[in-house]
């Protein structure tokens, strides 16, 4: 007897929930691996852009998004590479804006480097995008050019202004890079708050990461926080028991400041996040090594049910080492406990 035989009724409307009862409500969907910047810490060392057939088409991306919406996903973040570099990407936003309009999707957001926001900000706002995350590590032209290897800070700043003008709420994501922007961080924060942007500081992985450049640039955010506390009062927000608070409000500026460290994904905040790459690989954020191949399901089965089933199986997969799908004699095993996947 296998699970498949018994799952004859797979209801389209049953929301996804993992064994801990957390419903999947947030999908991060990458639409491209390409980017118009070349930040050393982000681009893999041997950057090879994928040939076109490997990448999902815009129609396929929309099908994937709609399948997740039907399974209960309420928020979609479009990511990349740099998503706005994908040709005709606005058509995906247009397609998803219909889902916003009919109420099945609650929020459509985007992470971008803002280089193309001047062109697209208004259209994005028209399609129902309300908030955008902008990756920006320096407000100094020379430093920006050194980090990203393109001297186009003014273009990014115009993009940010276009976002403001279109009424988009901007949050900056700034990676703390030793030897590059460490000294600049307080002024980036002041400027951001002055512009009405919240800002989150991101810590680079320490030594031990594959990319040597990253480890050279590692500064623990705790050091940065100490520096900031010398000049400002940081009031914790969303106080959580038993761990570091993630967000603070800077009393002197009134703006929000977040701290994200890769190792401190301590809290599962009741919202399960999943990530789909531009080649259709589905990763559960809480089980990074396990992934499902949605592309095959998309391209081999004509109906949406095949894709929905593939997603379900990926989300509900049993922990390794436990296979109770048996109807034969089994020895009473000393079962290993499940290994809890990290934040």
């Amino acid at each position: 007897m296998t699970e498949k035989l018994l799952n004859t009724l797979v209801s389209d409307n049953t929301a996804l929930a993992d064994p801990f009862g957390r419903t999947i409500s947030y999908l991060r969907l990458s639409v491209t691996d390409r980017c118009d910047l070349r930040c050393a810490y982000c681009m893999p060392e041997k950057m090879q852009f994928l040939p076109r057939p490997e990448i999902l088409s815009l129609e396929e991306l929309e099908t994937v998004a709609k399948a997740f919406i039907k399974l209960g996903v309420n928020k979609i973040r479009i990511t990349g590479g740099e998503p706005l570099t994908r040709r005709n990407i606005m058509s995906l936003f247009e397609g998803l804006s219909n889902q916003l309009g009919n109420g099945s999707l609650g929020e459509l957001t985007l992470t971008t480097n803002a280089t193309l926001l001047s062109r697209y900000a208004q259209t994005l706002a028209d399609f129902g995008v309300r908030r955008v995350n902008v990756s920006l590590d320096s407000l100094d032209g020379t430093t920006f050019a050194r980090i990203s290897r393109r001297a186009i800070l003014p273009v990014v700043l115009s993009g940010l202004q276009a976002a403001k003008k279109a009424g988009l709420k901007v949050k900056l994501n700034t990676v703390a890079l030793k030897g590059e922007n460490q000294k600049e961080i307080p002024s980036i924060i002041s400027w951001a708050h002055d512009q009405g942007f919240d800002i989150t500081l991101i810590e680079v992985m320490p030594l031990g990461d594959v990319h040597a450049e990253r480890s050279d640039q590692y500064i623990p955010l705790s050091d940065i926080r100490d520096q900031l506390e010398e000049r400002w009062t940081l009031d914790p927000l969303s106080y959580r028991t038993g761990g570091p608070s993630r967000y603070v409000r800077v009393r002197e500026t009134g703006g929000k400041l977040g701290f994200i460290t890769p190792l401190t994904n301590n809290f599962c905040d009741g919202c399960n996040r999943v990530r789909v790459t531009c080649t259709g690989k589905l990763f559960m954020c809480l089980g990074q090594n396990d992934h499902a191949d949605l592309k095959t399901a998309l391209r081999s089965s004509p109906d949406a049910d095949g894709l929905a089933q593939c997603i379900r199986e990926a989300i509900s997969r049993k922990p390794k080492g436990h296979n109770f799908d048996i109807d034969q004699r089994i020895a009473p095993a000393v079962a290993r406990h499940m290994s809890v996947t990290g934040g």
Binding site: M1, E3, L9, T14, L16, T23, K318, F324, I326, A335
Partner: protein
């Protein structure tokens, strides 16, 4: 403990109880009696309609607890096999939650084992239920009645169904 047939499934998506029963029956051609129980998501909660139910489990530990219960059933009654299918995740009103079945040569053991399993599943298997209604959600606590049925650890005598504890 010997390796008598035990089939346990934790499922994230709806299952067809009719199919489960017919497959269990087909797997035990020697049985004279097959008993089963089906637990279904209620339509209404304490005061208002239930929109959906969320059932949380502890992967690995939950299966093992169910397996222990099945082994205990095999120890207490001469059975040809037992099967437990239990949902987790999100369920709509009317969805099957749990299916329990037992097969034996004579009917008494299958009936007793089925009742034993479902009663003990309620209190000894790590599951937690949350009802979601229009006005919010609440975690369900087991009732005193649920506990009373399994408080006495002495099993019913072999072959006798429903000895009152």
């Amino acid at each position: 403990m010997s390796g008598e047939p035990v089939s346990i499934k934790l499922l994230a998506a709806p299952f067809d109880p009719g199919r489960a029963l017919s497959e269990f029956t087909a797997a035990h051609p020697d049985a004279g009696g097959i008993a089963s129980f089906l637990g279904v998501t209620r339509q209404s909660g304490a005061n208002e309609p239930v929109q959906h139910l969320i059932l949380q489990c502890y992967p690995g530990v939950t299966e093992r607890a169910i397996e222990d219960l099945c082994r205990t059933a095999h120890d207490q009654w001469p059975l040809l096999g037992v099967s437990v299918i239990h949902r987790y995740g999100t369920m709509a009103p009317g969805d099957p939650i749990v299916f329990v079945a037992a097969a034996s040569i004579h009917r008494q053991e299958a009936l007793a084992a089925t009742e034993f399993l479902i009663d003990n599943l309620k209190t000894r298997a790590p599951f937690w239920k949350k009802e979601v209604t229009a006005s919010g959600s609440r975690w369900i606590e087991p009732t005193l009645e649920d506990y009373a049925k399994t408080a006495d650890l002495h099993p019913a005598p072999q072959g006798f169904k429903n000895a009152r504890r």
